[in-house]
């Protein structure tokens, strides 16, 4: 389902339909995260991607008032090159996956004890990666300021 809607994202001509397929794809991906016992990341995925980022995409699409793309003269060599690159990529991918011996083992069972998933993620995040967390916070601040300056009417 995730792959189907992921395919729909790039196959749809209408940007709005594309964005909505992306939402479904992300929600299915969040379900996959939950099936991997990563509840925290699954919830974050839904909140950040299916919530914030998709609203942003839809808002921009409405703001720019994009219509469905008209069928253009396709650049034939470019399309062929694209398909060749992608087929080679999938070939390499299948080679790597089938050469990877450990991949067929079952997932070992986990027992997290009384603390849940979020507790463990928080412990690692705030102890081991505290500096990285601060850096990411600063990055978001810089991005916010940058967006405000970019969206001013005229740059001086």
């Amino acid at each position: 389902m995730m792959l189907f809607f992921g395919g729909m994202v790039i196959l749809n001509r209408n940007p709005v339909a594309s964005a909505l397929s992306l939402v479904v794809s992300f929600i299915a991906l969040a379900a996959l995260y939950v099936s991997l016992d990563a509840y925290f990341i699954g919830v974050i995925q839904i909140l950040v991607y299916a919530g914030a980022v998709m609203v942003l995409f839809l808002f921009i699409i409405m703001l720019l008032d994009l219509k469905a793309e008209s069928r253009r003269r396709v650049n034939f060599p470019a399309v062929c090159g694209g398909f060749v690159v992608i087929i080679l990529f999938i070939k390499v991918l299948s080679d790597v996956c089938y050469g990877f011996e450990g991949g067929n083992a079952k997932f070992p069972p986990i027992s997290q004890g009384p603390q849940g998933d979020v507790w463990h993620v928080g412990m690692v995040l705030f102890r081991q990666y505290n500096v990285a967390l601060q850096v990411v916070g600063t990055l978001i601040l810089v991005a916010t300021i940058g967006v405000v300056i970019l969206s001013k009417r005229e740059l001086k």
């Binding site: 995409f57 650049n75 991005a143």
Partner: protein
Amino acid sequence: MVTLNDYLIASGLLFAIGFAGVLLRRNVIIIFMALELMLNAANLSLIGFSRYNVHDGVPDYNGQVLAFFIITVAAAEVTVGLAIIVALFRARQTTHVEDINTLKF
């Protein structure tokens, strides 16, 4: 029984779809969505490996923390990128990459 390879193949196919989108589509916003798909494919394989490496019954949370950072940076990147697209649209009234060729040699 679902194994690690299944998740890795799903992740790789999602990455291939995103890659195809970036190479084949000509609308900047669709290219952006395809970029998001590729970032999420990387996240899926990270979380798969995190679940696969279990020590003392606890998964390896380093992978999940890295996925968290990727989500954060991707969100920041999307906001900046969309602001750039809006500025570009104001200047050129187009979102087609073939119409934006001033820098082309």
